[in-house]
C-alpha cells in the first residue's frame, strides 16, 4: 500500500493536551518518511500494552497487536522472531513495562532483540485514573497512595544500561524534533532500542512546567562510552531536582537475538520423513 492514510478513523479519546498526541504525530511522520523512501508500511508492526498510551494501536493505520497490560515486549520479541523482516515498534507505558511487566523489558535488553521500545513515561497510571508508577517521585499522592508513596522511583535509563540494552535514549513530548530523531534512530538501530519518553499527562501528572526549564539536549557526549552514559543517566534520578538530559545516552553494536535464533525451516514432506527417521532410532 502506498500513500496510505496513516491515521485510522477511530475516534481519538486522549485528553486535550496529552503528550501521546506528540508521540503519535512523530510516528506518523516517521512512517510517512518511510513510505516516501520507498519502504512499505506493510512490514511495520506496532505492539502496545494497555493504558492510555496503548490506544495508539487503534489510531495508527498499520499492523498492530493490541496486547495486554505489561506484556507488550514478549509479543514484540516473538513477532520479530517469527518474521525477522518485520520492523517491530513497541509502545508501552510506565505502568506497563516498569511495573506489571518489568522483567520482560530487562530480558529484551539482555537478548538484544531487534525491536524499538518507546515508553510513554507519564509517571502515572493514566487509564486507571491516576495511581503512582515506578517512576513517580517519592511522596506522590495518587489514588492508591493518598498520603504519598513510600518508595523512591527507579531510574529506567540506568536500569536499561545495566541490563545490556544496546540503544538507550530519553525523549520528551514537548521536544518533537528530538523525539523524531530518537525514534528514527531507534528503529534504524539494529538491536534493542529503548527510548524513555517523558510524556505529559495533562490530567494526572501535568509536569511540563517542571520539565521544560530543566531539560537539555545531550551534546559533546560520547554515546559509545558506557561509563559516561551511566554518569549522564544518573544526573537526574526521576526524583530530585536537577537538569534533565535528553538524547541518546548509549549505543553499541551486538549480535541480535533474532539473528542467532534463526532456524532453517524444512518442507512438510521432509519433516514427515524426519519424524519417521526419528522413530527408526527408537525401535
Amino acid at each position: 500500500m502506498t500513500g496510505r492514510q496513516i491515521i485510522t478513523d477511530a475516534q481519538n479519546t486522549w485528553c486535550p493536551g496529552c503528550g501521546n498526541f506528540s508521540i503519535q504525530h512523530t510516528l506518523k511522520n516517521i512512517l510517512t518518511e518511510r513510505e516516501e523512501a520507498g519502504k512499505s508500511l506493510d512490514d511495520v508492526v506496532l505492539v502496545s500494552g494497555i493504558g492510555c498510551h496503548a490506544k495508539i494501536a487503534d489510531y495508527l493505520n498499520i499492523n498492530s497487536f493490541y496486547s495486554i497490560h505489561g506484556r507488550t515486549i514478549p509479543v514484540a520479541t516473538a513477532i520479530k522472531l517469527g518474521n525477522p523482516r518485520l520492523t517491530v515498534i513497541c509502545c508501552s507505558g510506565d505502568g506497563d513495562s516498569y511495573a506489571e511487566g518489568l522483567d520482560h523489558l530487562i530480558f529484551a535488553a539482555k537478548r538484544n532483540i531487534d525491536i524499538t521500545v518507546i515508553i510513554h513515561d507519564n509517571r502515572v497510571y493514566g487509564l486507571t485514573t491516576g495511581q503512582y508508577t515506578p517512576t513517580s517521585p517519592l511522596g506522590f499522592k495518587g489514588k492508591s497512595t493518598p498520603s504519598g508513596t513510600a518508595e523512591y522511583p527507579f531510574n529506567p535509563v540506568e536500569l536499561m544500561l545495566a541490563s545490556g540494552a544496546s540503544y538507550v535514549a530519553r525523549g520528551y513530548t514537548k521536544n518533537m524534533n528530538l523525539l523524531h530523531n530518537l525514534i528514527s534512530e531507534g528503529i534504524a538501530h539494529r538491536g534493542f532500542a529503548f527510548i524513555d519518553v517523558l510524556q505529559i499527562c495533562a490530567t494526572f501528572f501535568p509536569a511540563a512546567d517542571y520539565y521544560t526549564p530543566r531539560v537539555y539536549e545531550l551534546s559533546d557526549h560520547d554515546r559509545t562510552n558506557f561509563e559516561s552514559a551511566c554518569k549522564k543517566a544518573r544526573e537526574w534520578d526521576y526524583n530530585s531536582d536537577s537538569p534533565i538530559a535528553l538524547g541518546t545516552f548509549f549505543q553499541r553494536s551486538l549480535p541480535c537475538f533474532d539473528d542467532t535464533m534463526t532456524v532453517h525451516g524444512i518442507e512438510p514432506k521432509d519433516r514427515q520423513q524426519a519424524v519417521r527417521d526419528l522413530l527408526l532410532t527408537r525401535s
Partner: protein, 550 residues
C-alpha cells in the same frame, strides 16, 4: 509366558532411566509390546529411583505389581519392592551392595577386570538379566549397539561377563510382534505437533513437561523448528501468541503452576482469536505438590481457565499412540478455528514409555483457516457466517492486520458499543459450534473391552491403560473420552448405551470427569479415586472394581 515384568531400581544418578530403557528395548526386540513406568523423587542424586518395564503380547499401558525380575542396584530397591516379589521372582543384584536370595553380580570385580568405569556397572546388571531371562546374546549385542552412545564395545564386554556368570532361571519366551519404536508420551506429543505443522515450541521448564522441551530442543534442527525457553511462563504464552500473529504454528508446554501464569494470555488468545496449542502435563497438586508424581486434578481448571467465555479444544490422550495422533489434531484445530487447543497429559503418560506402531505417523497437517483473498481493506475479524475470519499475516501487501485484546470491530479497532460487543461475542460462539460439529467427525470417545458389558469403567488420560487391563480380566467395557471440550455428549451417550453401572476411575479426589459428564446429563454411578500421586495398579484397581460389582 505372555507377560513379563521387570523392575530395576537404584539411586538417582545411577542411570536407572537409561538402564530401564535398555531393558525395554531387549523385550521389544524379543517380540513384546512395551510399557515403562519411571518413578523418581524430586532430587538430583541419591533417593530411590525405579523403572518398571513390562512386556506383553497385548498392547499395554500399565504396570503389574508382581514382578518376574527384580534388578537391584542397591539395598533400598530390595527393601522397597519386597511386596512386588513372589517366589517366582528372579532377583538379580549388585553383589557389592546387596545381599539377597537370587543371583548376585560382582559388579566391581567385573569392572576392574575389564578396566571399565563405574557408570558401566548397569551393563553388567543388564547382561545378567538377559541371561536370567534366556534372551539370546545377539539380541543384547544388537540392542547395545543401537542404544549405547559411547563405548559400546566395553559395555558389551562387561555385560557379557555377567551374562556368562548367571543362570537362566526364568526364561522369557519370544513374543510374536516385530520390534517397534518406543516413545515416551512427551516424545509422542512432540512428534504429533511436528506432524501437525509445529514451527516454534516455547516453554519454561516444569516437570513433567520439561522432557518435551528437552526432546524438541535436541531435535530442532532435524525438524526445522525453533525452540525458545524465555524468562517465565507469562513470556512463554505471549511469545507464542506473537508468533501465531506472524503465521507461525506455535505451541507451549507446562504443568499446573506454570499454566496458572498462562491463563491471562489464554484469555487473550480467546479474544484476539489467535491459534495456540498448549500442552499441560498434570502432576500432583495443589501448588508445588509432588513435582515428579502424577495426578488428574487440573481438568476443570483447564476447562475454565481465563476470564470470559471462548471456545477451546481439549484432548486427553491415553497413551503414546493417541498422543501422537491427537497432538497433530489439536495443532490443526487450533489453526482451523483460531482457538486455543489443549493437549492435556499427566506424568504417567508424559514420562511413561510405550510401543508405537510407525504406521501411526500420518501427515495430518492440512487443516487451516481460510486465507485472505487480498482485496483491501483487510478485516481481521470479518464477521463471516462460520465465525472463522480469513487470515493474513503481517508483511502481506495491503493488509493492515490488527489484533486486539479489547472488544473490537471487524477491523480489530476497539469498540465499546453494546451492539458490536454482542455481535463479536456471537461470532466467537459460532466458531465454538463449528468446532463441536467438526469434532463429531472424530472418534472422541474410545470404547474398548467388552463392548456390550453392562458395567463400564469411565476414565480419561493415562488411566486408560490400567482400565483396559482390568476390563479384559473382568469382562467390562471401558469408556474413555479423549476429547473433553467440546464435550462429546452424543458419542458418550452412545458409548454407554446399555451400561447399568458406570464407574469413574480417576487420579484425583473429586472425580472431575464424572462432574463434567454430570453437567452433560451423564451420571457416574460409582467412583474409584486415587490421589496420592501414584498411578493405579491393576492389582489394586481389580480389588476395588470387584468390590463395586458385588
Amino acid at each position: 509366558m505372555k507377560n513379563v515384568s521387570v523392575l530395576i531400581g537404584g539411586k538417582a544418578g545411577d542411570g536407572i532411566n537409561s538402564a530401564g530403557a535398555l531393558v525395554a528395548q531387549l523385550l521389544n526386540h524379543i517380540g513384546y509390546n512395551i510399557y515403562l513406568y519411571f518413578d523418581y523423587p524430586s532430587l538430583i542424586r541419591g533417593g530411590h529411583n525405579f523403572a518398571i518395564i513390562r512386556g506383553s503380547e497385548q498392547s499395554i499401558g500399565t504396570c503389574w505389581k508382581t514382578l518376574d525380575f527384580l534388578l537391584a542396584l542397591n539395598r533400598e530397591t530390595l527393601e522397597q519392592h519386597r511386596d512386588n516379589c513372589s517366589s517366582d521372582t528372579a532377583i538379580i543384584f549388585n553383589a557389592d551392595l546387596v545381599k539377597s536370595a537370587g543371583q548376585g553380580i560382582p559388579v566391581k570385580e567385573i569392572l576392574t577386570d575389564e578396566h571399565a568405569p563405574a557408570i558401566m556397572g548397569n551393563s553388567a546388571i543388564i547382561g545378567g538379566f538377559a541371561k536370567a531371562a534366556g534372551i539370546e546374546w545377539d539380541v543384547v549385542e544388537g540392542v547395545f549397539k543401537s542404544y549405547i552412545p559411547k563405548g559400546v564395545e566395553l559395555n558389551l564386554k562387561v555385560a557379557k561377563r555377567a551374562y556368562n556368570q548367571l543362570e537362566t532361571v526364568h526364561p522369557v519366551s519370544k513374543g510374536s510382534r516385530s520390534p517397534c519404536p518406543l516413545l515416551t508420551g512427551n516424545e509422542a506429543i512432540g512428534l504429533g505437533m511436528v506432524n501437525g505443522g509445529l514451527d516454534v515450541y516455547v516453554s519454561y521448564p516444569m516437570t513433567p513437561s520439561s522432557s518435551l522441551l528437552h526432546f524438541l530442543a535436541e531435535q530442532k534442527e532435524k525438524f526445522g523448528i525453533m525452540v525458545v525457553h524465555p524468562e517465565n511462563e507469562i513470556a512463554v504464552i505471549l511469545m507464542a501468541l506473537g508468533l501465531a500473529y506472524t503465521g507461525k504454528r506455535s505451541a507451549v508446554g507446562t504443568s499446573g503452576g506454570g499454566f496458572c501464569l498462562m491463563t491471562e494470555g489464554l484469555s487473550l488468545a480467546g479474544m484476539a482469536e489467535l491459534p495456540l496449542t498448549l500442552v499441560v502435563s498434570q502432576r500432583t497438586g495443589p501448588s508445588t505438590g509432588l513435582p515428579t508424581y502424577t495426578g488428574q486434578s487440573d481438568l476443570h481448571f483447564v476447562l475454565h481457565a481465563g476470564q470470559g467465555e471462548y471456545p477451546r479444544l481439549i484432548v486427553a490422550p491415553g497413551d503414546a499412540v493417541e498422543a501422537l495422533y491427537w497432538s497433530a489434531v489439536a495443532m490443526n484445530m487450533a489453526w482451523k478455528f483460531q482457538v486455543p487447543a489443549f493437549i492435556l497429559s499427566d506424568k504417567t503418560l508424559s514420562e511413561g514409555t510405550y510401543s508405537v506402531d510407525p504406521a501411526a505417523v500420518s501427515d495430518v497437517r492440512g487443516a487451516d483457516s481460510p486465507r485472505w483473498a487480498g482485496t483491501a481493506p483487510y478485516f481481521r475479524y470479518a464477521d463471516v457466517p462460520s465465525g472463522v475470519s480469513p487470515l493474513a499475516f503481517p508483511g502481506t501487501k495491503d493488509a493492515v492486520i490488527k489484533v486486539n485484546s479489547y472488544a473490537h470491530d471487524e477491523a480489530g479497532i476497539t469498540i465499546e458499543d453494546a451492539h458490536t460487543v454482542g455481535q463479536m461475542t456471537e461470532k466467537r460462539l459460532r466458531k465454538g459450534e463449528l468446532l463441536t460439529e467438526e469434532m463429531r467427525g472424530y472418534t472422541g470417545v474410545n470404547v474398548s473391552g467388552m463392548h456390550d458389558a453392562s458395567t463400564a469403567l469411565f476414565c480419561w488420560g493415562s488411566t486408560k491403560g490400567v482400565c483396559n487391563e482390568i476390563a479384559a480380566l473382568l469382562g467390562l467395557r471401558v469408556v474413555q473420552p479423549v476429547v473433553l471440550s467440546p464435550f462429546p455428549t452424543e458419542q458418550l451417550k452412545k458409548a454407554i448405551a446399555g451400561v447399568r453401572s458406570l464407574i469413574s476411575v480417576e487420579e484425583n479426589a473429586t472425580a472431575q470427569l464424572a462432574a463434567l459428564a454430570e453437567r452433560h446429563g451423564i451420571i457416574a454411578d460409582e467412583k474409584i479415586l486415587r490421589y496420592d500421586g501414584r498411578p493405579f495398579l491393576p492389582d489394586d484397581l481389580l480389588v476395588k472394581v470387584k468390590e463395586m460389582m458385588i
